[in-house]
Symmetry: C2
Subunit: 130 residues, 2 copies
């Protein structure tokens, strides 16, 4: 009996047992990144109050910030009407969510038919991942 984890059952996990998660700054509401969780990742996120994702490329749990120090502290978790997307409202430690060293992964904007970078690199990735 784990009644405290019943919220996991309400979700429509995809065929790989995953759900997409939008990480949104809890103050500015800026979307910082999108990643994926499996059941264990979401249970750990709730238990530890920090974002824990499932890395599809590495096929393992990914405690956001484990290498970079750019931990995401969770303020709120939201679910959509189709039960197949989550939002984490988070506080981004270090102010950098993207592996490129930018604040947000959504740093390119469509301008005159081209994707143009409109956000500065705050920290060189080689200084983040050592």
């Amino acid at each position: 009996m784990k009644p405290h984890n019943d919220f996991l059952e309400a979700l429509r996990w995809d065929s790989n047992g995953l759900i997409p998660v939008i990480a949104q700054d809890h103050q500015s509401n800026d979307v910082l990144m999108v990643a994926w969780m499996n059941r264990e990742a979401l249970a750990l996120t709730v238990a530890e109050n920090r974002a824990v994702y499932w890395s599809r490329s590495r096929q393992k749990l990914w405690r956001k910030g484990e290498e970079s120090g750019h931990v995401q502290q969770v303020h709120e978790i939201r679910l959509d009407c189709d039960e197949d997307v989550l939002i984490l409202k988070i506080e981004q430690v270090g102010g950098i969510a993207c592996h490129t060293g930018r604040r947000s992964c959504f740093y390119r904007k469509l301008i005159d038919g081209q994707w143009q970078s409109v956000e500065a690199v705050i920290k060189d990735p080689s200084d983040i991942y050592q």
Copy 2:
């Protein structure tokens, strides 16, 4: 030759030829919904300056608001570092994005281990879809 549609080639379409799209209010930054686009939907979105999605359930183009009147006027389009998620910054006509009659699809919040509705229904769905 369609050089004005080169931006479609930069994206990593999934095995079904789709990409997830976050619709975000251009002023409040609130995330209103997540839907999907194929190449045609995105090309039409850019050409018409209003959100056109691909309905996975109906397997056809879905001009958001075609039934409800709740059109989404596009102010900005963003792309993430992995080229596999888009953000549309939009103006939500009618102030209702969700088919439940709520402003946002993300109306449930995890509170004490349960998903609880924290946003009011603005308009009865039976009055929206006639």
